[in-house]
Amino acid sequence: MDFLLTEEHLMAQKMVRDFAQKEVYPTIKEWDRKQQMNPDVLPRMGELGILGISIPTRYGGQGYDYVTLGLACEELERVDTTLRVVMSVHMGLNSLALLQWGTEAQKQKFLAPQARGEKYAGFGLTEPEVGSDVVNMRSTAKRHGDTYVLNGEKMWISLATKAHHFLVVAKTDPAAGHKGMTAFIVTNDMKGVTTGDLHGKLGVRAGSTGWIAMQDVEVPLENRLGEEGEGFYVAMSCLDNGRYTVAAGATGLIRACLEDSLKYSMSRKTFGKEIARHQLIQQKIGFMQQWYDAARLLYLKAGFMKNRGMRNTRETGMAKWYATDHSVQAALEAIQIHGAYGFSDEYDVERYLRNGKGAVIYEGTSEIHQLMQAEYALGFRQDRPLRCEMPAYDPSWQEG
């Protein structure tokens, strides 16, 4: 699908690559060891326009298409997964959902500053007791006139202590199952909102993952995203975009494993020749190339469908499942190729494994994705039209 890429795509990709490699890579190990996020990352991504890459310019963004978003995510995760995680939550799970479901007023008030990089955005679905099984969530939202009062706790939330705006899903009617959920825009300055960081994670250590506690948080009606009872559909369409960024990013992680392995295997010698000359090493490299090409085709296909406004839940899910599973596989092979050095943080490949493992858990575990694909194939699952569909890419996004 590379043949679909324009000069604009390639130049934007190079710009993001240069940012990640020149500005982030040199200190990434330090931040990873410290388990802290480099404080320059979010402001720079905002300044460069990356945080608004595929939001129309009339809402403060850069007006690029969904394919460019994917290419950017690939480049970001080629350097470090934490950079792509920013895009998954800020852009995929939050900003694009505002574009899809938001009222004009919500777009002006929340989306535009996010796209300009002035405000950072997160997404709160998971709770301490509930992940895959979202319908069983505990958080509640009780309506009193024009205000909803939210109570509950969200856990494993990327950028919890960094974001200003959160898209939070809570139960407005606990008896109504998935039809009893509603989405809200909660801001970190609301009374009753507290956040904190989680430490001791296996990977994405140079990123920010935490929790949000909500105690009697009064959220005005105008902050409700979509209708009451539409929260499940809002959340699922958020995942269509979040998973796209994860798929493209994991493709970048496979590329990282491949590129590092190519370099190492051509320089390390055993038994009188470069290890790249041993067929068992070539087998690993051959597989990595296969996984990279396939993962890239899958995400570009999803991006192509998004550009045209075609429903892509299945295709995006497939891209996410395939790329993340194979990025973990590629990282294991890359470590093996690096021998003992791969087992140390002197080289990057051990970080690839620790970072890649998260993505087979968030935004639908591999098991959930496998079930979904089987259900589509068996005809047990069908996508129904939504009240607000994701807008197709339109060249007018570049105007105004």
Binding site: A12, M15, Q62, G63
Partner: protein
């Protein structure tokens, strides 16, 4: 008033440049990039443009591969890009380059300042900076680390130069040709708006006929010709491990060795 930058696409500084079996210089499949020093000259021209409302033009002399550098200059924020080329220019020496550049500067007209990066990394020379200034009959100032002041109406420039002993401040009339060092600015990244403009840009090509150059700047007229390239000789290194009972003993042995070898 125009500010002009001359740039080109060169191999990335990280690329492994070597001479192949046929005596040709290669850099494998490494990407071509905007000549790294030109990140500073392009950025400086954009900063001056924003501050002084002048027009900025990037030129490259060479075949289509140099469109990449020109597009990058546009993406960073320069206004126009023009490529100078025809097949006869192949094999041009630095004087030929300077003659083409001088003709282009004259054709563009009303040029107040020409900015070069420290050098073109592929050919490793800055002779063209001084040759161009000579042909234009204007001042050349190399190794500029800061533009202290520039007045395009009064036609004066005040700059700081890095010299071996420290910094030198000097003034000169405009037009001038300068070359700039890393200290001059923090290179700008391309912007998404710039990328959109650059990717749509069709870069005009001026030939030696357009520039009225005749044969003067052709490869055939080159006085300097490259005879051969050679790789650096492989350095034979020898490792010696210094043994000793204590750290102190090992350190003493090391110091004595270094003194013996006249390293310190």
């Amino acid at each position: 008033m125009n500010i002009v930058v001359f740039t080109k696409s060169t191999p990335d500084t990280a690329a492994k440049v070597e001479v192949d079996g046929g005596g040709k210089v290669t850099w494998g499949n490494a990407q071509l990039v905007l000549n790294p020093w030109d990140e500073y000259s392009v950025t400086e021209s954009v900063l001056l443009k924003d501050a002084h409302k002048v027009n900025t033009t990037a030129f490259a002399i060479g075949d289509e591969i140099h469109n990449d550098a020109l597009k990058q200059a546009l993406a960073i924020g320069m206004d126009n890009a023009i490529r100078i080329w025809d097949a006869g220019m192949s094999g041009q020496d630095s004087l030929g380059f300077a003659k083409s550049a001088a003709a282009a500067v004259k054709k563009l007209g009303d040029v107040g300042l020409v900015i070069f990066g420290k050098e073109f990394v592929d050919v490793g020379t800055d002779a063209q900076v001084y040759q161009l200034a000579r042909l234009l009959g204007c001042t050349a100032i190399g190794a500029v680390s800061k533009i202290v002041a520039v007045d395009f109406n009064a036609k004066t420039i005040k700059v700081e130069r890095m010299v071996e002993e420290g910094k030198q401040t000097l003034t000169a009339p405009l037009p001038a040709v300068i070359s700039v060092l890393k200290d001059i600015n923090e290179p700008k990244s391309p912007s998404f708006i710039g990328i959109r403009k650059a990717s749509k840009a069709v870069i005009p090509v001026w030939s030696s006929a357009d520039l009225g150059l005749g044969e003067a700047a052709s490869g055939a007229a080159a006085k300097v010709s490259t005879v051969a390239y050679r790789n650096l000789p492989v350095r034979a290194g020898q490792v010696e491990i210094i043994e000793g009972g204590s750290e102190r003993e090992r350190a003493e042995k090391l110091v004595n060795k270094l003194l013996e070898e006249k390293v310190i």
